[in-house]
């Protein structure tokens, strides 16, 4: 065998992957390293530990030696529990066979896009948006069409139609309550999106991971609107409401043909979601309502407090849900990244620059209030001191 060493391919990495930018948050990690005084409002992750009854159930299952694969679909009891649970958000008559347990919502987004897209198919992505919709669309061979929704952060019919007419989209990805803006959509807002989806014959990929953390009004799934059940892929999971982030467990509820296509991808790329996490998820749906009420109430208080204080410094839209505030930092002579970097270096408060969530997020920062009241108070004091000196 001849060994000449090194690859002779001029470019080993796929052009498609090459075209994707790495996450903009990366460089901030280095700045935080070795600074114990940093208060991080940069984490899209609850500060509560997973409720004990969930952890206990998972430990017990491990003691019993339950560590095998599950069916590709996921545990039948869990799928049934999810079908039942979604009645809460007005979606009835879900066939548990149309539910697939995924390795977090991230996998759900990926396999939904891969199941739907042919090369060059357009996908509408109202921005600011969660960081993975765009790259996963590109990886699935699609064309990601970013739609700026500033300053109201609502994808109205009029706005969406303008883009849809030009690109004949196959799907739209929505996320409400929204990461990073915290904005949620009312029935009327959803009806506008539904009208558009029907008119342009699109599938709606609806990321509802923050549904349980809705403080103003009630979460309504877009799938519950007239004519939408057959064109909505619901994505949800256990990371945010039950703090099960590292356990990686989510689910999709999709029309049968789409669910079947997604299952095909899921069975080859993932096989099944981790069984321990699935067992924990089942306990989350069965016995954690009271804990969830307490968690929701606590986040709501933090939101009220935090937004009230921030509104004295910045222009800010009161978030309806999730645990993010997205204030506008314009007028201080810094762009989002400069602002976030200097705030971190000078005051030890970590926030994420708004442009990480799309170009229209420039001029904003995302602050996650998933920290204790004491830390939140300290953080907002430091932010106040910081802008006073600018």
């Amino acid at each position: 065998m001849k060994r000449t060493g090194g690859s002779r391919l001029p470019r080993r990495i796929s052009e498609r992957v090459d075209s994707i930018k790495p996450s903009g948050i990366r460089k901030f990690f280095d700045l935080v390293m070795g600074r114990p005084d940093v208060i991080s409002l940069g984490v899209g992750e609850p500060d509560f530990p997973v409720p004990w009854r969930i952890r206990d159930e998972m430990i017990y299952s491990l003691e019993k030696g339950i560590t095998s694969y599950t069916s590709n679909h996921g545990l039948p009891e869990l799928r049934e529990a999810i079908a039942e649970y979604y009645r809460k958000f007005n979606v009835r008559n879900i066939d548990p066979n149309d539910v697939i347990i995924t390795t977090g919502v991230s996998e759900g987004i990926d396999i939904a896009l891969r199941a739907l897209l042919n090369p060059g198919d357009a996908v509408l992505i109202p921005e600011p948006a969660y960081v993975s919709y765009k790259p996963l669309t590109i990886l699935a061979g699609g064309d990601a069409i970013a739609i700026p929704t500033t300053p109201e952060f609502k994808p109205t019919y009029e706005l969406l139609a303008r883009y849809a007419k030009e690109c004949d989209p196959k799907a739209i990805v929505i996320n409400y309550p929204n990461n990073p803006t915290g904005v949620s959509y009312s029935r009327k807002d959803l009806e506008e999106i539904a009208d558009l989806a029907i008119e342009f014959d699109m599938v709606v990929i609806s990321d509802e991971i923050y549904a349980e953390l809705t403080y103003s009004g009630k979460h309504i799934s877009i799938a519950s609107l007239n004519g939408m059940e057959d064109r909505t892929v619901i994505l949800n999971g256990f990371s945010k409401a039950f703090a099960m982030t590292g356990l990686r467990v989510g689910y999709v509820i999709a029309p049968s043909d789409i669910a079947e296509a997604m299952l095909k991808i899921h069975q080859y790329c993932m096989l099944c979601a981790p069984i321990t996490a699935q067992i924990g998820a089942l306990e989350a749906l069965r016995g954690c309502e009271e804990e969830l009420d307490n968690i929701r109430a606590e986040y709501m208080r933090r939101r009220n407090f935090f937004v009230k204080r921030l509104s004295k410094i910045f222009e800010i839209r009161k978030p309806d849900g999730a645990f993010y505030a997205f204030p506008k930092i314009e007028g201080y002579g810094l762009n989002s990244e400069e602002f976030a970097e200097r705030l971190l270096l000078e005051k030890g408060v970590a926030v994420v620059p708004g442009n990480a969530f799309g170009d229209c997020g420039e001029g904003y920062i995302r602050c996650a209030y998933a920290v204790t009241m004491e830390k939140l108070k300290e953080a907002v004091d430091r932010i106040e001191e910081f802008v006073k000196k600018l």
Partner: protein
């Protein structure tokens, strides 16, 4: 949630919050929050503001004992009379009427085992209505007033996550 109940729940968890902060957290008017707290202090709903201290960590030797007490009731002396008599001793931390084999559960606080044992022998057992007592000394406490006395989960989250 009821306004008053919500404010009480917030205070129960953290008594140091100011009316201003509670107003910011709930979205209620600051003046109103202040008035509700004052009214609840006056009508005895709010009994006291205390601090939960881990005395073992503070290096202070404090002995707690749980005393099961069985009593004999009579026409003149009911549960309330006996309980009130026991409760008035400053050494007594808590008195509860309970179901089961015994009538009262009395928590006694003292400086040493001897201290507590003598108190029970001299002050509780000698009450005419007390039939017998059963003393359990507390060796270690793991949770008090809903608060864990050990470290549960450290915050292992990364500083940034999308």
């Amino acid at each position: 949630m009821d306004k008053v109940i919500e404010i009480l729940k917030i205070l129960e968890d953290n008594a140091r919050l100011t009316p201003k902060e509670i107003a910011e957290m709930t979205g209620y008017d600051e003046k109103e929050v202040e008035e509700i707290i004052k009214a609840k202090e006056e009508d005895g709903t709010i009994l006291k503001y205390k601090t939960l201290i881990d005395w073992e960590k503070a290096g202070e030797e404090i002995v707690y004992a749980i005393i099961d007490v069985r009593v004999t009731l009579s026409r003149e002396k009911g549960y309330d009379d006996i309980a009130k008599r026991i409760a008035k001793y400053p050494e007594v931390h808590a008195v509860r009427l309970i179901s089961g084999d015994y009538d009262f559960q009395v928590v006694v606080k003292g400086k040493s085992l001897k201290d507590v044992a003598f108190f029970v022998a001299e002050k509780i057992s000698t009450i005419p209505e007390v039939r017998d007592t059963f003393t359990h000394f507390v060796l270690r406490s793991y949770k008090e007033e809903g608060v864990l006395l050990f470290k549960d989960e450290e915050d292992r989250r990364l500083a940034f996550a999308p």
